[in-house]
């Protein structure tokens, strides 16, 4: 019996000790990791979407509620914002970053951040042929042609296309909802 208790105590204590250690490490690295994740996961797509800005959108990011907004500035003036939204694709969520032109109220463009679509089929939503349809699109009437909009889905990847468009539409709604606050966010 003593042996059993010894067994249990040692293993539990080692577990607890490692938990303590790790949680502190996690706390210490938390901020850095978050930034690294943004930089590496959203970063490349974000920079592609907000092409031509002369600030660092990640460093200047701000949060409204639970939405993270990335500003783009040109010549010191806020020209656009980008935000990420998710929707279910063929398998798993599709993450899309949508850039909005704050001055003209239209889309700058979109980029796919995360997806787990079938390689070679669903992944074609990441190709320019599909993505360029969003460039400069107005805020209204953005939907798949099958649903009365003007976005053509990728042939054979209807689910993936739908997911991407859904995500963009979600981002659109968010943008509309928080648009009033945007101007004041980077007022300085």
């Amino acid at each position: 019996m003593r042996e059993i208790i010894n067994m249990i105590v040692v293993l539990s204590l080692i577990c607890a000790a490692s938990g303590t250690l790790l949680v502190n490490l996690k706390q210490a690295t938390k901020a850095r990791i978050e930034q690294q994740v943004l930089l590496n996961v959203q970063g490349p797509t974000l920079m592609a979407v907000l092409k031509g800005c002369d600030n660092d959108p990640i460093a200047d990011r701000k949060k409204v509620g639970d939405v993270t907004l990335f500003p783009a500035r040109k010549d010191g003036k806020l020209s656009g914002v980008a935000l990420e939204a998710f929707a279910a694709g063929y398998s798993g969520d599709i993450g899309v970053i949508v850039g909005f032109d704050v001055n003209e109220d239209k889309l700058i463009g979109i980029g796919v951040t995360t997806q787990t679509e079938t390689p070679g089929v669903g992944t074609r939503i990441m190709q320019q042929g599909f993505l360029k349809q969003f460039r400069g699109h107005s805020l209204d009437g953005l939907d798949l042609s099958s649903r009365g909009g003007d976005i053509d889905s990728v042939s054979g990847a209807t689910y993936s296309s739908t997911g991407a468009v859904d995500a963009v539409r979600k981002a659109l709604e968010t943008y509309r909802r928080i648009k009033p606050q945007i101007a004041t966010l980077w007022a300085s």
């Binding site: 293993l11 539990s12 577990c15 607890a16 490692s18 938990g19 790790l22 949680v23 996690k26 706390q27």
Partner: protein, 704 residues
């Protein structure tokens, strides 16, 4: 997050440890703790050699009592001892075994086709038994090497497996995998008691030798300067190399393949050389013997058969006792065969070597007179070997053959066969053509007698060794070939002369069959002493029970005691018979061979209760091994054995006629050996002596 992290991990560790702890309690399988301890003793190779599916299964079997402590065939005695200690059992002796490759031919064998296929001997063997013409040889693709779980095998340059005997654990996987049987598991017992089989790799000499000595191997060992190894090789099958090397007529040399090219290898000279090397060194090479098994065997007769049988029984682990009628062990070898052929000190050395192994002797005890089969049984002997020899010389069977001055050869040799009274002027007539007759003639002549021998055959057909006949002629014995005595003349009750007639063969050219007297021929020779030496036969009067009835059947052909020819078992199951008492008058090496054959039978009789017939026993020379043509590159003259000068021989008994040869000469002679296999041989034998003047390449007809 801090609290939850620590808590979750803590709880997880707690649960895992708790579940495992509880599970190990609840789900504990009651296992005999000894199983684990026994298994820890086993090597853990899971080779399956023991017949159980793995070491843990074997351990379980040991613990539940179905397997003995020495279950593991790959473990050594220590393994068994440790297991026995755990089990509280006694450990029995387990004979060490080892894998041995019998094929030495390798890539010199003739190919019947070129094999290019799966690299596996078993696969190649499916195609006409492999690419090599020899059906029993090593195929050489190393399947045995691949299956060996102990890395104990590798392929030599010649493409035959070499066993690392330190690593080999005798699991038997290689032997099981070998399709030709070239690799086998052998032990001391199996090597010592193995009888030639038709599927062994037998050179002609090894087939012809009654003792089945591994001639090829010991000659190679001499060549490789391993005299100790050579001696041990000889002693695998012949415990009397000193003696056989001196008096064996060497049937092996007659069938030697080198005879096709030049002259046969001097096999028995080399044997004597090796044996002399040991004796002259003064230190006996230790011979491995199994520890005593507790089986007691009585051996009646201390001649070559009895000694040989005792030697083999002792080495495989039994406890023989020799009962000898006379005061000395050695039989005819000591006291009958004259000193100049076989010195007494040589015989004594050889006998002592055997007795040193732990053979008991009781001298002065005659079978039938002092001890009977019943007595022996009562004393706890489980088997008896009768090896009393053939000592009775039949009377001449002519007129006056019991007169004074007529003696039999054995009595003569016993009485006069040593340096004795001067016999100057004594006229001796010897009747017979055997070695005994020649011994008598030579002994008498050396004592200055005038010797005439009436030989009932031509010189070529005499049963005596050719060399010995030469020696007799050299010292001036008068050999009258193709003659037979008709009557003895007696004066004053003592013999005064012999009348004899000529004999002739039916076909003088072939000289086959018994020669018949030629009518009308008659001659007379004066004689003071007539020695009957025509034959020696078995004295059956020894073998009677209390009521005077014969114990054994008599073999009509040989005149000896009848027995199963392979097992030498008589009609009484625990009584075996061997040597001249079974075969009638014969050569020494046959007696040695019989001793070994009897030892094999007795070993099986005492350990298993029955004697198995050997498989594929080689009885006759295997026809395919007798080659017609050979392509040998070099011819090397056969060694000439130095002889004691004639002058010394005339006057003395002491000097051995044939002397020893030197080490270098012996090695050169050994290099003449073609290392024959069943059909293959070394065509380039002796290539290392090409610098010598007397070594010449043989011109091969048609080679230019």
């Amino acid at each position: 997050m801090v609290a939850s992290s620590i808590l979750v991990l803590f709880l997880l560790g707690l649960t895992a440890a708790a579940i495992l702890a509880v599970a190990s309690r609840l789900l504990h399988v009651a296992e005999d703790p000894r199983v684990a301890r026994v298994e820890a003793c086993l090597p853990g190779a899971n080779c399956g050699g023991c017949g159980y599916p793995g070491c843990s299964a074997a351990a379980a079997a040991v613990v539940d009592g179905t397997a003995p402590a020495e279950v593991c065939i790959v473990g050594n005695i220590e393994t068994s001892q440790r297991i026995a200690a755990i089990m509280g059992a006694e450990v029995h002796f387990k004979e060490p075994r080892v894998a041995t490759n019998i094929c030495s031919g390798g890539d010199r064998a003739n190919l019947i086709f070129d094999y290019k296929g799966v690299e596996d001997c078993r696969a190649e063997a499916l195609l006409y038994g492999g690419e090599k013409s020899c059906g029993i040889g090593c195929i050489g693709l190393g399947t045995c090497v691949k299956v060996c779980p102990f890395n104990a095998l590798r392929l030599s340059e010649a493409g035959v497996p070499v066993v690392d005997w330190n690593a080999c654990r005798s699991c038997g996987k290689c032997a099981e995998a070998c399709p030709t049987g070239a690799i086998r598991i052998s032990s001391v017992t199996s090597v010592l008691l193995h009888l030639n089989q038709t599927d062994d790799c037998l050179a002609p000499c090894m087939q012809k030798c009654p003792a089945q000595i591994n001639v090829r191997r010991y000659i190679q060992q001499i060549k490789q300067k391993d005299l100790r190894g050579a001696l041990l090789t000889i002693k695998e099958h012949n415990p009397l190399p000193l003696i056989a090397g001196r008096i064996c007529p060497a049937p092996c040399e007659n069938i030697c393949r080198r005879k096709i090219v030049d002259e046969g290898v001097a096999i028995h000279t080399l044997q004597r050389f090796v044996a002399d090397w040991e004796m002259q060194s003064g230190i006996r090479v230790p011979l491995y013997c199994n520890p005593p098994s507790g089986h007691k065997v009585a051996i009646i007769g201390g001649g070559p058969t009895g000694l040989s049988c005792a030697y083999f029984l002792r080495r495989v682990g039994h406890e023989p006792t020799i009962f000898e009628r006379r005061e000395h062990i050695g039989g005819m070898m000591r006291g009958v065969i004259p000193e100049y052929r076989l010195p007494k000190k040589v015989v004594d050395w050889e006998v002592q070597t055997i007795l040193n192994l732990g053979v008991e002797t009781r001298t002065g005890v005659a079978f039938g007179r002092d001890v009977t089969l019943k007595d022996l049984e009562r004393e706890g002997f489980e088997a008896v070997l009768i090896a009393t020899g053939a000592w009775k010389v039949p009377p001449l069977g002519i007129e006056n053959d019991d007169a004074e001055g007529v003696v039999d050869a054995i009595s003569f040799l016993e009485r006069f066969g040593r340096e004795g009274p001067d016999m100057s002027g004594v006229r001796v007539v010897v009747v017979g053509g055997s070695n005994t007759a020649i011994d008598v003639a030579r002994s008498a002549r050396r004592q200055n007698a005038l010797v005439t021998v009436l030989v009932p055959a031509i010189q070529r057909k005499m049963t005596a060794n050719k060399d010995e006949v030469e020696r007799a002629l050299e010292i001036g014995a008068d050999l009258r070939f193709l003659t037979a005595p008709l009557a003895l003349h007696v004066e004053n009750g003592a013999v005064s002369g012999v009348t004899y007639c000529d004999l002739a063969y039916d076909d003088p050219g072939k000289a086959a069959g018994e020669p018949k007297p030629v009518s009308g021929t008659k001659a007379f020779i004066e004689a003071d002493l007539v020695v009957a030496a025509s034959d020696r036969v078995v004295d059956h009067s020894l073998f009677t029970d209390a009521d005077g009835n014969p114990l054994f059947k008599r073999d009509k052909k040989t005149g000896g005691v009848s027995a199963n020819p392979t097992t030498l078992q008589t009609d009484i199951p625990n009584v075996f018979v061997g040597g001249e008492v079974h075969t009638g008058r014969n050569i020494l090496i046959q007696a040695v061979a019989d001793g070994r054959r009897a030892a094999r039978a007795i070993h099986f009789h005492v350990t298993r209760g029955a004697v198995p017939e050997p498989d594929n026993q080689q009885v006759q020379v295997i026809p395919e091994t007798i080659l017609k043509n050979m392509h040998v590159t070099y011819t090397i003259p056969r060694v000439q054995v130095p002889l004691t000068p004639l002058e010394e021989r005339r006057i003395s008994f002491k000097e051995e006629v044939a002397c020893s040869i030197s080490y270098d000469v012996a090695r050169k002679e050994a290099s003449r050996c073609l290392r024959c296999g069943l059909t293959c041989y070394d065509a380039d034998a002796g290539a290392e002596y090409t610098q010598d003047d007397d070594v010449r390449p043989i011109d091969r007809p048609g080679s230019e």
